[in-house]
């Protein structure tokens, strides 16, 4: 058996692969964290974010994925028939059995000569699909492959997660490096069996290990993936213009960024959780879209997701000269975030189907 070095874990395709199109989606409704606090703690104590995005009655992971994918297609300007994979990562697929991805593929005109599949790995299902898409394109099996991270996250009434469990996400279309607005220099995955958060089959709400979700879970895996990626590629935090980490709240990504040597300025454009909450599978990827909306050619981006159970995917991404041409071809992430209609806790319970009608 040959000797193995952790640096060998760097995942880099033989052929250059990059992002040829990207798009975000955030529903318009916002539940202020103060509404949750008022309901369950009499308004005492702090709140982990300002407000979270809530999907309307007629929205789910499929409808939101369709809009994000359409935005990505507007930027990519390619024939949808050239797409060979439509992959949707989520932990709130509307059907237990029947793919969200076939409906998305149908709506964007990619059927029938394509793969379609639903991915699940708590909050990192979308970036896991991104890595698979990189391999798919990098191997020459596909010219284009869609990876989408989208969620309408569930939070048990009164639970700490109810403040943050939000709706939204992003779609990223991977394709040949020469056509890309951002090249993927490499990625690294870091996973262990860590039971910090789960939802059993048929259970409506997830369970979690409270403080166990911190050090042995989020921080260990995010740091592990980020450090190994940077060591493998030979970069340091200062080599990146921007960084985005999975955002279960505002505090965790700020802390892990500081631990890894990133400044507040580097994470600012991608840190969306204070304003939209934790969009689970969408969280890291929508942070990336917010960065791509403002990035310039030559900018380098570190993206690190986290999924409970547990693992992280880290990506080294470099913006090309083509990005400015596509930034305004579709609705920006900031435009979606700025579009906000505040709702109260009562409306939230109706929109999130928490009222028993029969």
């Amino acid at each position: 058996m040959s000797e193995y070095k952790p640096q060998d874990g760097l995942m880099k395709p033989d052929r250059a692969v990059g992002i040829v199109g990207y798009g975000a989606y955030v529903p318009r409704y916002r539940l202020p964290a103060s509404e949750v606090s008022k309901m369950w703690t009499n308004g005492t104590g702090g709140t982990p974010i300002v407000e979270k995005a809530v999907n309307g009655l007629d929205e789910d992971v499929i409808t939101m994925s369709i809009e994000a994918a359409r935005n990505a297609m507007l930027r990519a300007q390619i024939n949808p028939q050239e797409i060979r994979a439509v992959w949707v990562g989520s932990e709130s697929h509307p059907y237990a059995v029947k793919p969200s991805s076939t409906i998305v593929a149908e709506a964007i005109g990619a059927v029938p000569n394509t793969m379609a599949g639903d991915w699940e790995f708590a909050c990192k299902a979308g970036t896991e699909a991104m890595q698979a898409a990189i391999g798919f394109v990098g191997s020459g099996m596909a010219r284009y492959a869609f990876s989408i991270g989208m969620d309408t996250a569930q939070g048990r009434p009164g639970d700490a997660l109810e403040y943050t469990a939000a709706a939204g996400g992003a779609a990223v279309l991977l394709g040949p490096g020469a056509e890309s607005v951002a090249i993927i220099n490499g990625s690294y995955s870091f996973v262990t069996d860590t039971p910090d958060f789960w939802r059993r089959a048929h259970a409506e709400y997830p369970s979690h290990g409270d403080r166990f979700t911190g050090e042995p879970a989020y921080f260990k895996h995010v740091s592990g993936a980020a450090e190994m990626l940077m060591e493998s590629i030979g970069t340091k935090s200062g080599d990146y213009d921007w960084a985005v980490f999975h955002q279960p709240n505002a505090k965790f990504p700020e802390r892990v960024a500081a631990q890894l040597g990133f400044s507040k300025e580097q994470i600012k454009p991608g840190l969306l959780s204070p304003r939209i909450g934790n969009t689970y599978s969408g969280s890291t990827m929508i942070g990336l879209t917010a960065i791509l909306d403002i990035a310039k050619p030559g900018d380098r981006i570190l993206m690190v997701s986290y999924g409970s159970g547990a693992g992280s995917d880290a990506f080294d991404i470099e913006v090309t000269d083509k990005l400015p041409e596509v930034q305004n071809l579709a609705t920006t992430t900031e435009a979606y975030i700025s579009r906000r209609t505040e709702i109260n806790y009562a409306t939230y319970t109706r929109y999130r189907d928490k009222l028993k009608l029969s």
Binding site: D58, D60, I62, T63, N328, L329, T331, T341
Partner: protein, 136 residues
């Protein structure tokens, strides 16, 4: 719920795919295979832009079966920029902001669900123009 009927309507519901008349160029939605203007055969598919304007609207409080959970909701006649008028729900809006002639855009949303175990039906609705690429 008739699963096969919804399946047959997917193209038009997800993407506003109608038809165009080869003879006089009129656009048809929903597809009818015969031109409403010149009566010529019209089989060529045409994907509508999804842009239109508010022709008329009303609010449904007493909803039909399958739509009870959405009530009250707004149903509109939307005049597509290619000509046809379609009936559709409006979404992402407050009724107070609606005015006849205001520009609208198509989005794909849940139309209804068949109870807790049946299929979920997706299709077009319209909202006041929000998309940046349209506004630009």
């Amino acid at each position: 719920m008739e699963v096969s009927r919804h399946w047959r309507l997917q193209e038009q519901r997800y993407k506003l795919v109608g038809e165009t008349c080869d003879s006089c160029g009129v656009k048809l939605f929903p597809p009818r295979d015969v031109c409403l203007e010149c009566k010529a055969p019209a089989y060529a598919l045409y994907t509508f832009t999804g842009l239109g304007e508010l022709y008329s609207f009303t609010t449904i409080y007493d909803a039909p079966a399958g739509f009870e959970h959405s009530a009250p909701y707004t149903v509109a006649l939307v005049k597509l920029e290619e000509g046809p008028i379609v009936t559709a729900q409006l979404t992402d809006m407050d009724e107070s902001e609606l005015s006849i002639g205001m520009p609208l855009e198509m989005v794909t949303r849940k139309l209804r669900t068949d109870g807790d175990e049946g299929m979920i039906v997706y299709g077009y609705k319209f909202r006041p123009i929000f998309s940046q690429q349209v506004a630009n």
